[in-house]
Symmetry: C2
Subunit: 153 residues, 2 copies
DNA sequence: AATGAAAGCTTAACGCC
DNA sequence: GGCGTTAAGCTTTCATT
């Protein structure tokens, strides 16, 4: 279902749509000098195979009052980190959950509108079963937050 | 230029477009029971004021061979962390750069296709002026990576 | 796989309220 | 600020290669 090989044209289409998700198919066709029905078919395939997961408007967090970013390191009971991670995934303020090598714990990226929301979240996490301890770093400034992938080619 | 107050309708528009950046204006108009010229005008304003930064296709990193995520903590010479951060921002493999409280250092999120790219990047960072040391955690598994904002309302 | 052509929608601009 | 109308442009399907 997803063992398709991308050619040069597919990669160009992905780059264009990653840069501007609303580029018209007819515009892509013009740039790549192909028929727009062809581009349409290729984009459909890229979506069906999962290369394109979604289309999103990217919103400005600060204008929307979500000013605070924090990273929380969670130590869990041995062997229970995946289980804890699955439950933490339900928390909407938690944007990222990564299982780390080394000390077998979790790293969370959190975005909240007020410090109090962070405090609340931390005490909630502290009471999760399997969580031993947390340690938190608040970001003073986020210099770069890029979601685009660095595609080769 | 951006001291606009969002009403209920603006927030609904943002939510719809954040969930699906290609929703037709006419479809939004239908859902909110308004004229599509009105929605068009509001979306233009939301874009102009910066609430909507961009539209993007979200691509699958693993299908594209970008399998490895790592977090790098960078210790810098006192007072030079912002300067180092600005230079690091040029590295395309570095997706995020955050200045942290506490120990006045930087946290980087990196995504690469091969371990060797991570090794290369680390030795490059180690040679940056103002960088004292780095310490790296590789992610075994990324359980959640959500870019959508948790909008109230 | 790629294409041109046709039908049905969508956007973007206008003038009016 | 909101609306309906309209022209231009877009997407989608389909028969053809």
């Amino acid at each position: 279902m997803n063992d398709m090989t991308l050619d040069e044209i597919d990669r160009k289409i992905l780059k264009i749509l990653q840069a501007d998700g609303r580029t018209a198919l007819s515009e892509i066709a013009r740039r790549l000098d192909m028929g727009s029905a062809t581009i349409h078919e290729r984009v459909n395939t890229l979506e069906a195979e999962g290369y394109i997961q979604d289309y999103r408007a990217v919103l400005d967090p600060e204008l929307l009052g979500l000013n605070d970013v924090a990273f929380i390191r969670v130590r869990t009971e041995a062997g229970h980190f995946s289980e804890v991670a699955e439950r933490l995934a339900e928390e909407t303020a938690i944007q990222e959950i990564h299982e780390l090598t080394g000390e077998a714990d979790l790293l969370l990226k959190v975005r909240v509108g007020e410090r109090s929301a962070l405090t609340d979240l931390l005490s909630r996490i502290g009471r999760y079963e399997g969580v031993l301890s947390t340690s938190t770093d608040v970001a003073l400034r986020s210099v770069k937050e890029e979601q685009r992938l660095d595609l080769p080619g």
